[in-house]
Amino acid sequence: MKIFAGFGYRSGIAIVLLTMAFSVIGEEYIGRDEFLGLACGDKKPEMQTLWITEETRDAAKAAVGWFPPALRLRYWQEGNCTAWILEDIGKDKPITLGIAVSGNRIERVEVLAFRETRGWEIRYPFFTSQFSGLTLATDGYLSDSIDGITGATLSVRAVERVARLALWLDMQVNG
């Protein structure tokens, strides 16, 4: 069993430093402009402003359970396609998400910024692609369940909440 008996603290530090030196260079998250370029087909959507009244806020909370603390929301529109950039907190830090909606269905979900220590897997297509085609059910939840990520339950829930809100907002703009 004493195969590693010669290991000491100096060798441990050396291993960590060596691994750091060879650490992989990271993949960047998709940017806002890149998301907007992908959101509504070939044509880039135009920026719009949705002013939020107290009635709107109350209606959103009643429908999907939450609303961000904002007086107005920026969104982008091209035809009946809308793109929303919204934030919600996963465990303790905000996650920035881009949601494209067309015909009351989610077209695309992209993670623009993720700041939590765990749960970064939510940015990968194997997770975000589950949202494509989902609609807002009458109970305010998504029309189908999302398979989560172990150890990232709160981040997954945050994406679901934002997706529900984007669908609801799209309905307010497009009817």
Binding site: A5, F7, Y9, I15, E27, D147, G148, T150, G151
Partner: protein, 410 residues
């Protein structure tokens, strides 16, 4: 007379008509006046447009300021607060368990098992601190059942967007529950006995760690930390007895941990950990009792169906058998299928086996069945109930009965 009257009327009409028609000069004056009015109106329109635009900018600026005030972005103090996060969780349990072996009392107690506060702070976009303080069993102090523990306190720095370094006191990357154990995230009132007695959850050490992604969905964490310290002189031999909790911990013999996880399919996590302990007695005994831990797990969720399974085994230097025969092997495993009956109601069953004297020839393993239910009142509040029954060898507690719990996270 008639002709005269007619002539006079014609004359009057003609002179009236001539008086109502302006001359060309008069018309020119009128046109100029009208043009001036048009120009004035146009100027007013432009000015009104400018005022409208100006007001629009002011409204936007006001809205931005109001939002900044609402979200606390307007002062240095609020900026500091924005970069500081607070959170936590808690769980209270009621255990009503009968000991079927005649070697101890039954358990009938209510306990606020854990109350935890998180505090984190981002120094900048790439460097942050995270800490977790826990009060266990509600009351700490001399002769009291509980403890106040620092479970996490580390600095984390991003070397790149997929590689991070950690220094300080942190949770060892092993198993399912050791790093994620908020009560709303797992089934069962109490944490399972395999991860408690074999891994041993909750397990933290002080040192350095490096974590990152190798490929999308495939991550790693390597840690170089303080090690376990089992008091062999007192006859201790169980892995759980060796946790030093980084409290003036003997640092003579470190530990090396390598963990990898695959989460590249929605709902799936595959994980494995290998750890080498250079000396479970920290060199305080004649023989260095070194040890290897091997652990693997799967956690899967597909729609309402969930499955968790884990196996962990310690291969310890035979010298430990001089303290307790058979302690050179300590291992366990469990499997836990679950079913989300409704969005907020789930049921589960778990079968576990663990043995801290697996190297002996005798029957020393304990097995346990658990069945139960979780009800999430809201996403972050859970009520739990389960029934457990154990099969333990003579001389060990064999507990059967029910557990109730309430947990929350925020």
């Amino acid at each position: 007379m008639k002709k005269l009257t007619t002539g006079l009327m014609l004359g009057l009409c003609t002179s009236t008509a001539f008086a109502a028609t302006p001359t060309i000069e008069e018309m020119w004056i009128i046109i100029q006046q009208q043009q001036a009015e048009i120009t004035q109106l146009k100027t007013q329109l432009v000015l009104t447009d400018e005022v409208l635009k100006e007001n629009s900018v002011k409204v936007e600026a006001t809205a931005t300021m109001v939002e900044q005030v609402a979200t606390g972005e307007t002062s240095l103090a609020s900026s500091w607060a924005e970069r500081t996060q607070i959170g936590g969780y808690g769980e209270m349990h009621y255990n009503n368990l009968e000991n079927n072996n005649d070697n101890g009392a039954d358990i009938d107690e209510i306990d606020f098992h854990r109350f935890v506060l998180y505090l984190g702070h981002d120094f900048n976009d790439t460097t942050r601190m995270f800490s977790e303080v826990e009060l266990e069993h509600s009351l700490s102090g001399d002769g009291e059942p509980g403890e106040v523990e620092l479970e996490q306190a580390y600095i984390e720095h991003d070397l790149s967007s997929t590689t991070r370094m950690k220094a300080g006191l942190f949770l060892v990357p092993v198993g399912i529950l050791n790093q994620t154990h908020e009560p709303t995230t797992f089934y069962g009132v109490e944490r399972n006995n395999v991860e408690k007695n074999i891994i041993p959850t909750t397990w933290w050490e002080g040192g350095l760690a490096l974590s990152g992604e190798i490929l999308p969905g495939w991550s790693y964490e390597g840690a170089f930390t303080s090690g376990l310290n089992i008091d062999f002189a007192e006859g201790d031999y169980k892995i759980r007895d060796g946790r030093q909790k980084v409290a003036k911990a003997d640092a003579s013999k470190p530990a090396y941990t390598a963990n990898t996880k695959y989460t590249g399919i929605a709902g799936l996590e595959l994980g494995a950990t290998i750890q080498y302990q250079a000396g479970l007695g920290q060199g305080n005994y004649d023989e260095d009792v070194d040890a290897m831990l091997y652990s693997a797990h799967v956690a899967y969720r597909n729609g309402p169906f969930g499955l968790r399974a884990l196996a962990a085994a310690w291969d310890i230097d035979d010298a430990i058998n001089e303290v307790k025969a058979g302690a050179n092997e300590q291992n366990g495993w469990y499997i836990e299928p679950s079913w989300l009956v409704m969005r907020d109601l789930g049921i589960f069953a778990r079968y576990s086996e663990w043995d801290n004297l697996a190297g002996s020839d005798g029957e020393t393993d304990i097995s346990e069945w658990d069945v139960g239910v979780n009800y999430w009142l809201v996403e972050n509040v859970v009520f739990k109930a389960d029934y457990q029954w154990q099969d333990a060898p003579p001389g060990q507690k064999e507990l059967e009965g029910f557990n109730l719990g309430v947990g929350f996270t925020y």
